[in-house]
């Protein structure tokens, strides 16, 4: 059996439309993941009862598979609330909630990496805890966590393939559909892999660029 390049090329339009959804899902999830993660990271370092809530969230999400989380949201919760959750929403929800836990740990370590003297200097000037976090700690923490955040973005880009199980036609699902039609798994999976690689490689270059620009000062 010979390798058919023509199949690789002819699958591209369909696969790329799947890749578009992959990028969309991942970008939205990273956006919400950063927001959730920032709150979770700060909450974990706070002194109030929120600390335990944040720790529980982070532990449970990181300690269970994304696949199972997606199943619970797409198949489990609708039974509880007696109405279906659209696949797209379920996909975004599970990826965001999952990413938020990982980003939470990244943000926590970023905040902890900022010297204690920074907060002391800000507080000694009469700044509030919020102002200190917002103007002094977070800007410095975020500069430092650009590389791990980039890694998280790349990991999520790949992990988003798991939501193909809840009927979302992203890149992997599109691949499966084409294989169902053509019975040529090798060509199609290779094409899928190529597209994933181009995406992750682009993101990693982008992260490098941002990192270099941010390191110019501080």
């Amino acid at each position: 059996m010979e390798f058919r390049w023509d199949l690789v090329w002819s699958s591209m339009p369909t696969l790329l439309s799947g890749a578009k959804l992959t990028v969309q899902l991942t970008s939205i999830a990273v956006f919400f993941g950063i927001i959730i993660g920032t709150f979770a990271g700060i909450a974990r370092l706070s002194k109030g009862p929120l600390r335990f809530l944040a720790a529980a969230y982070i532990d449970v999400i990181r300690g269970t598979p994304l696949l199972v989380q997606a199943f619970i949201i797409f198949y489990g919760i609708p039974g509880l609330i007696h109405r279906p959750i659209p696949a797209y929403l379920a996909g975004v929800l599970s990826l965001s909630i999952n990413s938020g836990a990982y980003v939470g740990e990244i943000v926590r370590s970023g905040i902890q990496s900022v010297d204690k003297g920074q907060a002391e200097a800000a507080l000694s000037l009469g700044m509030s805890n919020y102002q200190t976090m917002r103007h002094i700690i977070l800007p410095q923490a975020f500069r430092r966590i650009v590389p791990p955040l980039g890694n998280e973005f790349i990991a999520l880009l790949k992990d988003s393939s798991l939501v193909s199980v809840i009927a979302l036609e992203e890149l992997v699902r599109k691949g499966q559909i084409i294989i169902g039609r053509t019975f040529r798994p090798f060509e199609v999976w290779l094409a899928v892999a190529m597209i994933y690689f181009v995406m992750t490689f682009t993101v990693s270059r982008l992260v490098n660029y941002v990192e270099k620009r941010m390191n110019v000062n501080a």
């Binding site: 010297d115 002391e120 200097a121 507080l123 000037l125 009469g126 700044m127 410095q140 000062n217 501080a218």
Partner: protein, 244 residues
């Protein structure tokens, strides 16, 4: 109330776990005084200073600033605005230009308009000889330069009192002078200052009162002349004989 002290500390105790660092410190500081605190490492002098603006929460005791007891639940932020602090490790904000370091707190806390804050900041930077570096980032500056900016940053809040926590201990020897000169200038202007330092020359020349601390208590205090020329306590004598 001209005779009310600007700051009064009553029976201050501070423990870190089992370590009893401050064991009942009481003192009063009058407006315009320059109080220099000296003593061996681990004597509690930095802890005392850090308790004054509650960077460390005292275990017990009372701190009265401008006639009012400091309470973290009510007036702490106001008190901190009036108590400028200069740290051993400068603690400038590395992600902001020098000028922004100085204008930030007046802007956020005092709600000073940006333009007014900038003009005031440039004036202060000029005073500490750092106006030329207004648009540099702190990591581009030497230690002495950073510390002078840190002093300007604290002054920008127009505090009633300045706290200096070993401001020259992290500096290369050739940079100590430039920072002490700025501090001396402030003292001559009549600013109320409390300075923890190992610079005995500064204490002798600029201090209006010197406090010697050891093992968490004030052992002896007096004018620089009394304390350096004529110490009464054995512990003071021993300490001075080691360092002078």
């Amino acid at each position: 109330m001209p005779n009310t002290p600007i700051l009064e500390v009553r029976n201050l105790h501070k423990s870190f776990g089992n370590l009893h660092v401050l064991k009942g410190v009481s003192l009063k500081i009058a407006r315009g005084e320059v109080v220099v605190v000296i003593g061996p490492s681990g004597s509690g002098k930095s802890t005392l200073l850090r308790c004054l603006n509650y960077l460390e929460t005292p275990s017990s005791g009372e701190i009265i600033f401008q006639g009012e007891p400091i309470d973290p639940r009510t007036n702490l932020k106001q008190v901190r605005q009036e108590m400028g602090m200069v740290f051993q490790s400068f603690n400038l904000f590395p992600h902001m230009k020098v000028l922004h370091n100085v204008t930030l707190a007046p802007n956020l806390v005092r709600k000073t308009a940006s333009k007014t804050a900038e003009e005031a900041a440039l004036e202060l930077l000029d005073k500490v000889g750092m106006a030329e570096k207004a648009h540099s980032y702190p990591p581009e500056l030497s230690g002495g330069q950073q510390q002078r900016v840190a002093i300007a940053r604290a002054l920008a809040m127009q505090p009633e009192m300045m706290l200096f926590d070993e401001p020259t201990s992290a500096l290369d020897p050739e940079m100590i002078g430039e920072v002490l000169d700025v501090m001396k200038k402030l003292a001559l202007e009549g600013r109320t200052m409390m300075v923890v330092t190992h610079e005995m020359g500064f204490a002798r020349e600029v201090g209006s009162r010197v406090i010697f601390m050891d093992e968490g208590v004030i052992v002896e205090e007096g004018t620089p002349q009394e304390l350096f020329e004529n110490p009464k306590e054995t512990r003071t004598k021993e300490f001075l004989s080691k360092i002078l």
